[in-house]
Symmetry: C2
Subunit: 153 residues, 2 copies
Amino acid sequence: MNENDVDNKLAAMAPGHRLARGVGRALTDLGWSCLFEVVLKTGRRVDIMALDEKGRIAVVEIKSSLADFRSDGKWQEYLEFCDLFFFAVPEDFPRDVLPDEPGLIIADRYTAAVIREAPETSLAPARRKALTLRFARTAGQRLLQALDPRGGI
Amino acid sequence: MNENDVDNKLAAMAPGHRLARGVGRALTDLGWSCLFEVVLKTGRRVDIMALDEKGRIAVVEIKSSLADFRSDGKWQEYLEFCDLFFFAVPEDFPRDVLPDEPGLIIADRYTAAVIREAPETSLAPARRKALTLRFARTAGQRLLQALDPRGGI
């Protein structure tokens, strides 16, 4: 892909997906392994789940705009599914509407920066085990599907 | 990709990779999530590691030929890294040279069949936890690399 192809692809992405790309890159560089759009057993879907080498679990909710933030008031529900919870927003997002407690990431389509660290809680062992297994199986299935899409042949 | 493209791609693959493709498809259909070429902490690399929804870990070693089997005598080393261990071989492989204990899979490039179930051992919890985390992080990193290869842009 040349630079124009990449620009066109980025332009066609939803704003939240562009930010997820930047967050995924930045968290990868910080040693996290990231998986996008992970469905929890509650049926809710987190934007990014990330695992570090110690097995800690971070969840990142991406809010591309104030409207996006206001349409989803249930961020506290994610706290019991991670050790670290972050919001990720674009630079021009009005940050003063965000709650003070979670971590904060400023992102664009290319990268992201952790502006405020998340307070660390500690998952119950059984929950951590179940989430790690869900991450592993989902990532493995998606990777195999990407490598061998089984086009009927 | 049309049928000819797929045939050409398959012809260019190493024999072991063609069999891995068939094994990956068959295990996926049996409810396993598969990851190819996973490096253990010993530095040894297993051909396929698979996770089922209970968190059981299977390892599959692919032997595409007798020479391939004879060049690697250390299959017992894998037993402490899985609950279930299988050899996977092509249909024309001389099966009587294989040890009786492990599970046996017959594979081709399109699919595979479990001919003999593997005896089940049970990993120590700390080992299972470490292997599941390794699977999760490796699969997540490879998937993100596939989705966003970061071509310098």
